[in-house]
Structure formats: structure tokens, C-alpha cells
Amino acid sequence: MDQHLLSIVLFTPLAGMAILLFIPSESKRLLRMWANLAAFAGFLVSLPLVSRFRADVSGFQFEERASWIPTLGANYHIGIDGISLLLLMLTTLVGFLAVLSSWNAVHDRAKGYYAMFLLLQTGMIGVFISLDFFLFYIFWELVLVPMYFIIGIWGGPRKLYAAIKFFLYTLAGSVLMLLGILTLYFQHFSQFGTYTFEIADLMNLHMTLGMEQWVFWAFFLGFAIKVPMFPFHTWLPDAHVEAPTAGSVILASVLLKMGTYGFLRFSLPLLPKASVDQTIVQILAVLSIVGIVYGALVSLMQQDWKKLVAYSSVSHLGFCTLGIFSMNPNGIAGSVLQQVNHGISTGMLFLIIGVIYERRHTREISEYGGLAHVMPKFAVIFAIAMLSSAGLPLLNGFIGEFTILQGAFEASRVWAAFAVTGVVLGAAYLLWLYQRTMLGQVTNGKNLGLPDVSFREIAVFAPLIAWAFWIGIYPKPYFDILRRPVTEIVQRVRPGYFGAPAALAGRGQAAVAQVRSAQ
């Protein structure tokens, strides 16, 4: 049981989907209950990972390996470290909440809808736990198809355009990434005489800087489009605005993290020379900062509630990539934490939009105003989500952004200075949004009779709010979990960072000190 725990986590949603297919389409209630049950089971089976995960052990845990395609050298090899654990838990929790939030939202073709979500869930989990590049790629692509259908069938008026745009953008990036993977695969063959997709083995490669750079850019296209980094972000607002609420939540909370995770798991450790190459780092940092500021400025201008949150994602993910390319423990640890934070707070913001959209069927900000009088509980939830996204101390967003800025400052003061404007602008567009929709008098008569959030809706928000406070008030366990994997990445890309080799034994402590100072 224990040695297959990770496989069980991976395949529970898929098994749930398989059974779901046998439930007749007419019995909507049964379908809904089963889908929620399966998604909840998916979350429950992932909980033991947290309790059994050991933050004081290096390398991967819960590893499983089985021969899969020996002819190609591809294995079924899964395992998690601190970074994967956090993103995995985010996936299982948010995945369940997204299914739960769809209770009343989806009536048409409910069977297909839930089947797609469960399939998506397995795909996303697979991305975060694969330790074999081939397996990773399969899951990476597997995610595209259900998401296409979620946007394309259950989406808004321009769903067809948004769905195919999402598909084509991400596909174009990922096939180029495939070429990068194949280059590494072939390099391993020519250097060691064996074909393998094992990430641990591929780390032994010695490549020239030029070769590493080419592969880096191939990976970059795959990951940057997914994140999305400026200027590859244009699919995101379309996809977010047209997707149904639960689709937006999954997209923002989990799917985008696949890109940042890709940088951390593959680009940095596999291509250390290219990753610290000054030109590349400068370009990526500048793109991140442009993303931060541009995303925030565009958010300020939005008339559409959902579009505003979508562009805020571009800005927040800019922080995450900036943290990664600061290439120091603070930046990277902050980036991972901020990825989780963004998953929580932006997930909540999209859920909030879903709640109000179910009641009013419009997302025009000007249609609202003074909702706090009509829906007080809703106003409190929205306030928490908004402040968590804006980075108010005591809530999760603060600690993530703060640590990233620390890392960025260490790397370059100029970067930090520009990035800080993103924080200010972020507070501006979020507070202004809150003011326009919730405060003041009720100006639109249609808003007068709106019912406040129901028990089920509160149940969807409660875990996320609790999590937001937990990270905000006591982030130490998170930094503990992240310490070792982050140290390993930094050690890999900047071998001299923790001092001379003689001091290697003490490098763990040094990293602790670095990370602790973040708190």
C-alpha cells in the first residue's frame, strides 16, 4: 500500500472517471454525487503523503519505478520532493473544490463535464510527479484535451475561439519542447551509450554551452507559453474569460504552475550552464518584470471582472518566474510558495466570480456596486481573497512576494525596484475592483434581491481561506519542506553559491539561514 501510494493518488481520479462512464447520463444527481465523491477521494488519498513526507531527507520520496517501454528507455518512474508535494496537494485540493463548485453550474452534458475534470486531474497530478521525461511529456499533453473540451463545450460565447487558441498555443510550445527532450535523450546515447529519459541520468550530461542554450530555448517555449510569460500570454485572457468557473479555477490554480514547475524541475537542473548564462537570465528577468508591470497595468483598465483577474495572473506569475531566475534560495523558495499562493488566492477570486455570475449572468464590473449590503458573507470572503492576492501581511500572498523580492534584490536591485511597482499596482487594481463592486450604495436594482452565499459555497471557500491564513501566519513548515529541493537546485546551477567545496558539509545550514532570513 505504502509503496504504491503515489500511484494510487495518480490513478484515483482516472478510476473514478472510468466508473462514471457507466452511470447513465439521465441520472444527473448520481453523476454529480459520484464525481464529487471521486474527486474527494482523490484528495483524501493524497493526505497521507503530507503526514509521511520527510522534510529532512534529500532526493525524491514515495518513488516508484517500473519498466514501461524498454525499447525507448522510458520508465514509469514517479516520485515527489518538496516542490512537487506542495503543487500536488494544491492540485488535489483545488481539483476537488472545482468539481464541488460546479454543483449547480453545469446541467448540460454533466457526464462529459465531470469525466473531463477527472481526466484532467490525473493528467495534472502526473505532470507534477513524473521523474521520467517521456512520462512527463505524455501527461503534459494529456492535459490539453480535457481542457479544450471544458472551455469549448461548457464555455462562454467565444468558447470555440478561446479553446482552439489555448490548444494551439500550448501545443506549439510543447512540441518544440519535445525536440529539446529528444536532443537530451540523444546526447545521453552518444555520451553513455544508453537511451534514457530518466531525469537523474540526464543530469550527468556534459554539453557545450551553445547546445544547452538551444535546448533551453526549446524548453523555454514549452514552459513560458504555459506559465504564460509575456509576450506569450495572449491565450490566457481568452481562455479564462470563456472557460466555465471551475475551468478557470483549475487553469489559474494548477495548469499555469505546470510551466513554472517545468522551469524548476527540468530547465534549471538539466541545463545549469544555460540557466545561469547572463544573457538568458537577463532576458527572462526582463520578460518577467514586463509581465508583472504590464499585467498589472492591463488589469487596471479592465471592465470585465474575470478579465481583470486573468491579467492579474500574468502579473503574479511574473513574480514566480522572476523568483526562479533570481537563482538564489530565497527567490526559488519564494517562487514555489507564491505558486501555491496564487493557486489559493486566484482560485478563490475565480470562484467568487463564479458565485456572482451564477446569480447575475454578467461579469461587467459596472453592473455591480454596493453588493456588501446585499451579500455580507460574500463580501467578507471576497475581501479575504482580494487581500490575500494583494499581498497583505498575515495572509499568504505577502510572504511569497516578500521572499521573491528578497531573492530578486539579492540578484539585482533594479529588478526588485521594478517588481515592487507590481505589488503597488496589484493592490491598486484589486482594491479598486472591490470598491467598485462591493462598496457604496446599491446602484443597480437587479442586485437587490441577490441571495448570499449558500452553505455549499462556503464549504468550497473555507479550506482555501484556512490555507491562506496558515501560510500567512506560520509559513515555516513550507520553507522546511522546500529547503532541501531548493538547495539542491541552487547548488546545481551555481556550485559556488554556498561557498567553497570544503564548506559543502555546511551547505544545508547555510541554506537554512538563507531561507530563515526570509521569514
Binding site: G112, G152, F167, L171, V175, L178, L182, Y185
Partner: protein
């Protein structure tokens, strides 16, 4: 001079003999015992029996090679060579013929043209394919090619009262004959250089000359033109969309899969045999043709509203991917072509099977509108079609991904980075037009309510292709091992 026809000779061509005998038997029995058209569906059993015997023959040949540790078995003084390559391709022809026969009877009944000759022609065509995959003599190869092509000319025009079918047959015949002319011209130049029609002799004669020797260049060009015609590579692709659209859909399926596989086998025999030494002359040529094929195939498919035509252009683009494997030219590339042909067989057949199901009494069922709302009407068909289309586009975890994977890997190994980037980016273009069909099926509304045509054979064939397309994608190991046997040349 050895004996004219020994038992060893016979052993090398058992499968072809079986196909020819059963083909003749069908002609005879059709006329003797199945005068009632409604009974003719039992002729499928004849095809099945023929394939069982053919398969048994192939298996025996394979077992003989394996038991004696041989890599090849020659017959008729080297005119026919049975090797891993030939056997592998023949398995593909066999699978394609079986699946097509299974779905044909219902389709032809609906079209009102159910005649026994159809099955006989299928077997004769397959007999020609056998020699295309195993022939090692210019004459044998050419006869095999013509046997296959002539059977197809007739089959494409099988709907005698349908103008489109007649037009398609005529176009295919004229262009096919034209291309055969080029091919024979190239062959005659090769014969002129070698004084022999055996591929081995031709190869020896050509390798003693420079690649830029005018005769060699002329032979390379004319032969290439002929071969590229057969696999419908750009700029010799013009016949394909018309022939595919006009032919009965079952024939289109057979043509697009088996005939293409046979032409690829033929092409590999020539390019890796006699033309191997003049690689520097044809490699840039083929690379350019492959890119042009990918470009035109993919771009022209975007605007098609007829599904058969769309699939025709998509199959042109697939020929481009296969050519890229030959451009890379290393073992990975050749193995990649074998894998590609194998997965292409099942996914492309599968897609056509769904189109065949759309043909009902009084409904042609070939337009994008005809497939609209299929998910609501017949979810099983829609999901299978989705799997086939994803596979055609090369999205994991379907079989099509593996085919593309090998081609990309071969290109990277041989340093053709630019070609690799071009080839991968066309995957994104392809997804756009394949998803036009998906969009219509899953998001469009039901436009006409008539249920899909179905029969036992059609259901069986659909399930088999669907299961294989997924199985090869998820657990490819046994299939990859099978494809590796094709490297034994």
C-alpha cells in the same frame, strides 16, 4: 542455371499464391453460388480465409527465418527476397485488407454496387503489394506495382453510376499511368547501367559511378518522380484528393493505407537499395519534397469541408513525415517509418471507418455538417473518432505520437534541426483542422437525426482499430519490437 520453379522458390511466394488463388476462387464462387446479392456478404468469409492462409504463410516464413537464424530468403534467382522488412509490411497489408473487407459489405449494399469482383480485386491488389514489399528485381517490382495499381483503378471507379467515382477512376488511371512511365524510364536507365534487373546488381553498378554522373542523376530523378507519385508527395499529389473523394469510402480507406504502405515499402527498397550510393544527390531533393508535402498537405487541409478530402490532404502530409524518416536515413529513421506506417494504418483506417458509418441510404455523409453533433447522437463513434484524430495529429497517449516521435528523434540524431522544427510545428497546424472535425462532433448541434449505418463487421473493425490505436500509444513495447524486425534487410 538452377531449376525454374523449386519448392524453395515456392516457399518464398506462398502468401501471394494464396491471395491469387482465393481471388480467383471468389470470382468463380460469386458467379456459381451467390447469384442473390443479399448473400454476397458471405464472400467476406472468403477474404478472411484467404488472409488466414496468407498469414499462416507469412508466419511460416518468419518462423523459418528465425529458426535458421537467417536474415533473408531469396527465390527465383534473387527476384523475390523474403526478409523481416517484407514480412512486416505484409502483416500491415493483411490487417488493412481484413479491416476493409469487414466494413465493405454494408457500404456496398447501401451504395447498391455489391459485386463479388470487389473482394477479388482487393486480394489481387494485396498480391501486388506482396511483391512490392518483397521484390528485389526491377521487373518483379514493376509487375507488383501494376497489379496493385490496376486493381485500384477498377476499385476507385466501382460505383458505376456515380459520376464522381468515374471521374476519380479516370484521373487516377491517367496520372498513375503517367507516373509509371517515369518509373519505367528510370528503371531502364538503371538496367542500362547494370545490364541486369536485379537490385543488387544495379546497386553495385551505380555505386561504381559518381553520384553526379548525368545518367545516375537522370535515373534518380525519373525514378523518384515515379515513386513520389505513388505516395502522393507534393508536387505529384494532385490525383490524391480527387481519387480519395470520388472512390467508394471503403476503397479510399484501403487506398490511403495499404496502397500507401506498399508504395513506401517499394520506395524504401529502391532508395535504400540501388539509389543508396547516390544519397548526396537525392537527399536534398527528398528533404525539399518532404517539406513541400507537409506544407501543402497541412495548409490545404485547413479549408476543406468534405471530410474525405480533408483526410486526403492529411494523408498527403503523413507521407511527408514518412519521407522525413528517409531523409534522416539512419536506423532510427527507417524503423520510424515502419512504426509510422503501422500506427498510420490503424488510425487512418479508423477515421475512415467512422466516415463509412456516416454513409446511409440516401445520405452521402461526407461533409463536416454530416458529422455535426455526433457526440449526442452516437457517443461511441464520436469518442473513437476523437481517438483517431488525436492519433493522426500525434498527441500522446495515442499511437500516432510514437510514429512522429521516431521521425523527430531520427531528424535530431542526424542533425536535421531545421527540418525537425518545421515538422513539429506542423503538428500544431494539423491539430487545427483535425479539431474542426472534433468541434463539429462535440460542440455542433445534431443536423440530421438518421442513425448511423452499422453492421457486425463495422462494429468489430471500429473497436479493433480503436483499441489498437490506444494500446500502441499506452503500451507500445510489443509493437515496437515487431517494427524492429523490419530492419532485417
Amino acid at each position: 542455371m538452377s531449376q525454374f520453379y523449386t519448392s524453395a522458390d515456392h516457399f518464398t511466394i506462398i502468401p501471394a499464391v494464396m491471395l491469387a488463388l482465393f481471388g480467383c476462387a471468389i470470382l468463380l464462387f460469386d458467379f456459381l453460388i451467390f447469384p442473390d446479392p443479399r448473400q454476397r456478404k458471405w464472400l467476406v468469409l472468403f477474404v478472411a480465409a484467404a488472409e488466414v492462409f496468407t498469414g499462416y504463410g507469412l508466419y511460416q516464413q518468419y518462423a523459418y527465418l528465425a529458426a535458421n537464424g537467417l536474415s533473408e530468403l531469396t527465390g527465383f534467382q534473387g527476384s523475390v527476397t523474403v526478409d523481416g522488412f517484407g514480412i512486416f509490411f505484409n502483416w500491415i497489408f493483411l490487417a488493412a485488407a481484413l479491416i476493409v473487407a469487414l466494413v465493405s459489405y454494408k457500404y456496398l449494399e447501401i451504395a447498391g454496387e455489391h459485386h463479388g469482383e470487389y473482394y477479388a480485386l482487393m486480394l489481387f491488389a494485396q498480391c501486388g503489394m506482396f511483391f512490392l514489399a518483397t521484390g528485389t528485381d526491377l521487373i518483379t517490382l514493376f509487375i507488383g506495382l501494376e497489379l496493385m495499381a490496376i486493381s485500384f483503378y477498377v476499385m476507385v471507379g466501382f460505383l458505376r453510376t456515380d459520376k464522381r467515382s468515374n471521374e476519380a477512376a479516370l484521373k487516377y488511371l491517367l496520372l498513375g499511368a503517367f507516373s509509371s512511365g517515369f518509373l519505367v524510364y528510370g528503371f531502364s536507365l538503371m538496367y542500362g547501367m547494370a545490364g541486369s534487373t536485379k537490385l543488387a546488381d544495379v546497386a553495385a553498378a551505380m555505386s561504381s559511378r559518381s553520384s553526379w554522373d548525368p545518367v545516375v542523376v537522370l535515373a534518380v530523378i525519373t525514378t523518384s518522380v515515379g515513386l513520389l507519385f505513388k505516395i502522393s508527395a507534393v508536387p505529384f499529389h494532385m490525383w490524391a484528393p480527387d481519387a480519395y473523394e470520388g472512390a467508394p469510402t471503403t476503397v479510399t480507406a484501403y487506398l490511403s493505407v495499404a496502397s500507401k504502405a506498399a508504395a513506401i515499402a517499394f520506395l524504401l527498397r529502391i532508395f535504400l537499395g540501388p539509389l543508396a550510393s547516390s544519397r548526396e544527390a537525392w537527399e536534398p531533393l527528398l528533404a525539399a519534397v518532404a517539406v513541400a508535402t507537409l506544407t501543402l498537405g497541412n495548409l490545404a487541409a485547413i479549408n476543406q469541408t468534405n471530410i474525405k478530402r480533408l483526410l486526403a490532404y492529411s494523408s498527403i502530409s503523413h507521407a511527408g513525415y514518412m519521407l522525413l524518416g528517409l531523409v534522416a536515413g539512419n536506423d532510427t529513421g527507417i524503423n520510424g517509418i515502419a512504426v509510422y506506417v503501422m500506427v498510420y494504418t490503424f488510425m487512418n483506417l479508423g477515421a475512415f471507418l467512422v466516415v463509412i458509418s456516416l454513409r446511409r441510404q440516401n445520405i452521402i455523409g461526407e461533409d463536416l455538417d454530416d458529422i455535426s453533433g455526433l457526440m449526442r447522437k452516437s457517443p461511441g463513434h464520436a469518442v473513437l473518432m476523437l481517438i483517431f484524430l488525436l492519433s493522426l495529429a500525434g498527441i500522446p497517449p495515442t499511437a500516432g505520437f510514437l510514429g512522429k516521435y521516431y521521425i523527430f528523434l531520427a531528424l535530431i540524431q542526424t542533425g536535421h534541426y531545421t527540418l525537425a522544427v518545421v515538422a513539429t510545428l506542423y503538428v500544431a497546424v494539423a491539430i487545427y483542422y483535425y479539431f474542426k472535425i472534433v468541434r463539429s462532433m462535440f460542440i455542433g448541434e445534431v443536423t440530421e437525426k438518421a442513425p448511423l449505418a452499422t453492421s457486425f463487421g463495422l462494429r468489430l473493425a471500429l473497436v479493433v482499430s480503436g483499441v489498437l490505436t490506444l494500446a500502441i500509444g499506452i503500451y507500445p513495447e510489443p509493437f515496437l519490437r515487431l517494427a524492429q524486425t523490419s530492419l532485417l534487410r
